[in-house]
Amino acid sequence: MGPQIRAVVAPISGPTTIQVAEGEGSRPVAVRGLRQRLCAVALAAIVPLCLLLFWELMVRWTGTRLIPLPGDVAKMMWDFAFGGIYNDAYSATLPIHFWKSVQRVYGGFFLAAATAIPLGLMIGRMPLLRAMLDPTISLLRPIPVTAWLPLSMIFFGLGPKSAIFLVFLGAFYPILLNTIFGVKSIDVRLFEAAEMLGCSGSQLFRSVVLPAALPSIFNGLRLGAGFAWILIVVGEMTGVPEGLGAVIMDGRTLSRTDLVITGMIIIGITGFLSDRILLLLSNYFLRWSPQHHA
């Protein structure tokens, strides 16, 4: 964009001046992009900073011992990650707990995706399968994952398998239901076009059903991944010694609220990052879709 010409029209009696002003195009694109991103970050940071301030003020004002100050939580987080401040059982143990939780969350999540997506594709397309499975699935759905905890411990004993099962349950339903929805909303014309072009039977699944349902499937995956992180705390109540959920539960037992809040923050950040990764993947696979860019 070159320089912009603006006409400034003064009242009738005066002269008409034409100014040539330098428009936006004079600054290089890279600088503009950086500024926009900094603005976005600054806007996003306003609310968290206000909340931190509110937290600090409320704790100091009420003098409560139950909730630590933001500064104390920050110290705990540092110690949790790198050690050197408290040198207790939790110092520098973040990597282990983090890794264990990540294993379980993604284990359960991938298991859920690997079962829910093919099942959803088939249920969406085959009325017979739907008639057989839909009532059972709908009956099991309202049962909260927490209610499965005792049974899960009976099936899988104490330990990580139990946790993975609960995460699996939590991620399974969003992925399944979104996949079925995705399949059922495929325009019938696409199937007609595919059959007319010579693609039939099982070829249809790979060539039409899966790509057409992919936007809904990705929605389901993002929801499922979110639930997986939410449920890791429940999942790790099954008696596992390590993991972010276990740390939170320990913190509760030991009345170490700073530990609890540390665990919460780390789960929040990790869940956020994992959602962003999923978003990047979906932007790549759905680059053909005009509505799917975040």
Binding site: E192, A193, M196, G198, C199, V208
Partner: protein, 273 residues
């Protein structure tokens, strides 16, 4: 491309024959007779238009020929062999394009050949040939949502042609386009038809379009849907919309078409929509 079967003693069967086709639709509130007693014979290389108002069953008839619907009675035969399901020999171009949004223009065009096991070396040649036939070579790697309506319809035509079709079935293909794009595509369609010598069955509600494009116009009426009459269009191509001969034919066709609507109104019958 299918070859007309030659069995020596008998005459070669026509490319398409529709014999006594009837179609009833049953809904919860009764049955609708969409088509009654349709008999059509179409030879290779003809350009036939099915012309009629909305609700006369022309799209239903086209879909039965394409194999997306089953006739309640009667049969459709291609070179004497009965057909009742979709296939590459009858390629359909839809009014709403029905392109695969997750595939690029080029991938849409080669969808048919890829799924029928055409070797990859031939596929590359096919894609180049049909991309240039519809003038979309610079857009080969675009996605459908990046194309205009006219371009999308060109892709739809190209993918059917690339699939070695015998009969091009077109269901009001230019209905969703603006007038300028429509006339451009009509010209391009005639060019393609003349160079590939395909058979075309074109459904439309526009008398002008029918007279402009077709060798033969089959006028259809509603209540129930049937073929009322057939009018041969003997003008040489390229046809001039403003010429007197064109307009004589156009008036003639319009008269035949609207006389039924007037008669139906007088008799008091309501055309099903």
């Amino acid at each position: 491309m299918l070859e007309a079967p030659t069995n020596g003693r008998a005459a070669t069967p026509p490319l398409l024959r529709v014999t006594d086709v009837h179609k009833m639709f049953t809904a919860s509130n009764g049955t609708v007779e969409a088509l009654r007693g349709i008999n059509i014979t179409i030879g290779k290389g003809e350009f036939v238009c099915l012309l009629g108002a909305s609700g006369c069953g022309k799209s239903t008839l086209l879909r039965i020929i394409a194999g997306f619907e089953r006739a309640s009675r009667g049969a459709v035969a291609v070179y004497g062999t009965e057909v009742d399901r979709p296939g590459p020999d009858r390629g359909m171009v839809f009014q709403d394009y029905a392109l695969f949004p997750w595939l690029t223009v080029k991938e849409n065009i080669i969808f048919g050949p890829c799924h029928r096991g055409v070797p990859t070396s031939d596929i590359a040649k096919l894609s180049e040939r049909f991309l240039s036939m519809v003038g979309l070579t610079p857009f080969a790697n675009r996605y459908p949502h990046q194309l205009s309506g006219g371009m999308k319809q060109r892709v739809a035509i190209a993918r059917v042609l690339a699939n070695d079709t015998d009969i091009l079935l077109m269901d009001e293909p230019f209905g969703a386009l603006d007038a300028l794009t429509r006339s451009k595509l009509q010209e391009e369609l005639i060019d393609i038809w003349q160079s590939t010598k395909l058979t075309v069955i074109f459904v439309t509600h526009s008398v002008e379009e029918a007279v402009l494009l077709a060798d033969r116009v089959l006028v259809m009426t509603a209540g129930p849907g049937r073929i009322d009459c057939q009018i041969k269009i003997d003008l040489s191509r390229p046809r001039d919309v403003s010429s007197p001969e064109f307009n004589v034919l156009r008036r003639d066709v319009t008269r035949r078409l609207t006389s039924h609507i007037a008669r139906d109104r007088r008799v008091g019958a309501t055309a099903d929509s």
